[in-house]
């Protein structure tokens, strides 16, 4: 099956059926009627549908205004076979949002913790930048903000939408954790902090699905409340062809992969 066919098969909606995005959006609204402690947010990634387009990675970078060197959701590529009999497997890797998270346990100042939605977050103003959480994460899901900027040293052209002065304004302010983070210089947080995927918490609270989920061209990423037995994610994770990464470490991840 060609790439185009795969994408078409995944996204086409039969008459009378609802697109999974619409269904998940409805379910998200339903979940938000409950109190935060009744949610169990999970992500399900169907590896059979992932085409390795990296749209989720790029959407995440754009959504969270991630600087160079910071990534929340890379997609791993595995090449199988030898030429000319070659295929690829793709593995998107957001934060696993472990229930038993080794990263929060090692933080010396409670800067990374489970918030009221039970999402593992980072308090940039609290983080001392020791990187112990990075060492503790078995999934490599944390990266460090070294203070790089995409637009630095770009030429400034008068009356043109290029250059540091124009683009910096866009690049420097993110809305992570529902707060404006003006990121400038080399010393102000989140520079000097560890950063990670937070399931787009700021979007969830506004009733919007995470950026990676809405952007997935193959509808391979699902998101929802697994405490809702009627939700799509509950249906999916109840199947036998579901795994979680490195479960043997006792991390109890909330990201599931369909094989």
């Amino acid at each position: 099956m060609s790439l185009i066919e795969t994408i078409f098969e995944s996204t086409v909606v039969a008459p009378g059926e609802t697109d999974v995005l619409v269904r998940m959006q409805t379910e998200l609204h339903r979940a938000m009627q409950k109190s935060a402690d009744q949610h169990r947010w999970v992500m399900v990634i169907d590896l059979r549908k992932c085409v390795g387009c990296h749209a989720c990675t790029v959407a995440c970078v754009a959504e969270n205004k991630l600087p160079p060197g910071v990534v929340y959701r890379p997609v791993m590529t595995e090449e199988i076979g030898t030429y000319p009999n070659v295929t690829f497997n793709f593995l998107p890797r957001p934060c696993m949002q472990c229930e038993q998270s080794p990263c929060t346990e090692v933080c010396p100042v409670n800067a990374t913790y489970h918030d009221e939605e039970d999402i593992v977050v980072v308090d940039y103003e609290q983080c001392i930048g020791c990187r112990a959480c990075m060492a503790a994460c078995p999934y490599g899901a944390r990266t460090y903000d070294f203070g790089y900027y995409y637009v630095e040293q770009l030429p400034v052209v008068d009356r043109a939408v290029v250059g540091d002065k124009i683009a910096a304004g866009y690049e420097h302010i993110s809305q992570e954790y529902g707060q404006e983070w003006e990121r400038t210089g080399q010393h102000e947080s989140p520079v000097g902090n560890v950063r990670k995927c937070h399931f787009c918490l700021h979007r969830i609270k506004d009733g919007i699905l995470p950026a990676c989920t809405t952007t997935c061209i193959g509808r391979a990423t699902y998101f929802g409340d697994s405490n809702d037995p009627k939700s799509l994610v509950s249906e999916l994770i109840s199947k036998p062809n579901v795994i979680r990464l490195k479960e043997e470490l006792g991390t109890d991840p909330r990201v599931y992969y369909i094989l």
């Binding site: 990675t57 160079p68 060197g69 910071v70 990534v71 890379p74 997609v75 791993m76 590529t77 595995e78 593995l91 890797r93 080794p102 346990e105 090692v106 933080c107 010396p108 100042v109 409670n110 609290q126 983080c127 001392i128 930048g129 020791c130 990187r131 112990a132 990075m134 060492a135 503790a136 994460c137 078995p138 999934y139 490599g140 944390r142 990266t143 460090y144 903000d145 070294f146 203070g147 790089y148 080399q186 010393h187 947080s189 520079v191 000097g192 902090n193 560890v194 990464l245 470490l249 006792g250």
Partner: protein, 380 residues
């Protein structure tokens, strides 16, 4: 003459280091080579080394003040002072590694005690206080039982903090190469070994005031201790490596291959094994050479260089295996790599730390300890 040369080295180390400290403080961490996948580099390794050195120096000071071993008589104050300086140097090294070092107070006022790192910060702070208290009592009331009580507490603390550093790495189940049950056992041995090596340098090069016979006996004792601890360390190393390679777990094999034949082969074979173990052991088993102050001091220096390298080769290779295969290639950007060689700025900061330790120990021995002695005498 040796001391003058070491003074000059200390001054130049510090001067070269000031450049790196300036860059780190005012321009941030971009010119460091540690990154998001190898997050702990040279500065963390130097912290482990120097904090272990402080614990070891303290342990050796107890041989004078606590156990009254005649051969170690008169060395206690110097070793306590060395413990103080090397601990400060270690804390400076780890302080420079923090992205927000100005927030270190949070570890004291808003700590999370599920974090072993927080426990270690508290542990080393208590240890620092105990060193200072021991120093004070050593000068003011060396004959009273108070110093014995404090030094017993200090001895136990020094073993615990040294072992704790081992736990800091070993408790990390995500890193197979570190996750060895024996690591917290090994680290106090490393601490004793590095303390003995430091004492070889101090007694060999900077303590001609000791009586000739005592000095030569002490050097021989330290030489024997160095040989024994080196061989014990070598046994730990061989058992770790053979067990891991035989077991064949991918992350372990990647880590050990990076040491034996990969990026760090020179550091391992030439610096840690040849310079840091073989040469000192061969020299120090010979009583005539071991009792020669200059040679003993030089071997002590080689041992210290070997031990510092050993710390580096525990910290860094533990991070070289990708947590998920293909992670390095999945997304490209600055510092998203599993290759690590310290940058010039990192070496420079370490140079400042070493320069500070050298000058701190020497100035203390030459001026401060004598001044304190006279001050306390005058007070009595």
């Amino acid at each position: 003459m040796t001391k003058k040369i070491v003074y000059v080295i200390g001054v130049f180390s510090l001067l070269f280091g000031l450049w790196g400290v300036y860059i780190r403080l005012f321009e941030g961490e971009r010119s460091a080579n540690y990154g998001s996948y190898i997050g702990w580099g040279l500065w963390v390794a130097m912290y482990l080394f120097l904090a272990g050195l402080a614990a070891g120096a303290y342990m050796l000071a107890t041989l004078d003040f606590l156990f009254n071993i005649p051969r170690f008589k008169g060395t206690g104050k110097t070793m306590l002072w060395s413990a103080f300086i090397t601990l400060l140097a270690g804390l400076a090294s780890i302080g420079m590694d923090l992205g927000h070092m100005e927030r270190i107070w949070k570890v004291y006022l808003q700590p999370s005690f599920t974090s072993f790192l927080a426990l270690m910060v508290w542990g080393y702070t208590i240890f620092l206080v105990l060193i200072l208290l021991s120093l004070y009592l050593a000068f003011s009331h060396p004959e009273k039982s108070a110093i014995k009580v404090v030094m017993w507490v200090g001895l136990v603390t020094s073993i615990l903090v040294a072992g704790g550093v081992g736990f800091l790495l070993g408790g990390n189940a995500a890193r197979l190469y570190w996750h060895v049950g024996l690591l917290p056992v090994q680290f106090p041995v490393f601490a004793i070994a590095s303390g003995v090596a430091l004492m070889l340098v101090i007694v060999g090069w900077f303590m001609p005031s000791l009586k000739k016979e005592q000095r030569s006996n002490l050097l021989w004792t330290l030489a024997i201790l160095s040989v024994v601890t080196s061989l014990v360390k070598l046994y730990f190393l061989v058992s770790d490596f053979t067990q891991s390679l035989y077991g064949g777990a991918t992350d372990n094999v990647i880590a050990i291959q990076s040491i034996l034949t990969g990026s760090y082969w020179f550091s391992f074979w030439i610096v840690q094994i040849a310079l840091g173990i073989l040469v000192p052991v061969i020299v120090l088993v010979q009583p005539k050479l071991a009792k020669n102050g200059f040679i003993a001091g030089l071997m002590g220096l080689f041992l210290l260089i070997g031990y510092a390298t050993a710390r580096f080769l525990i910290v860094v290779p533990g991070q070289v295996a990708p947590m998920i295969p293909g992670l390095a290639e999945a997304f490209h950007g600055p510092k998203l790599t599993f290759d690590y060689t310290p940058s010039l700025m990192e070496w420079s900061v370490t140079s400042a730390v070493i320069g500070f330790a050298i000058l701190g120990i020497l100035i203390g021995m030459d001026f401060l300890l004598g001044y304190l002695e006279r001050f306390m005498e005058a007070k009595k």
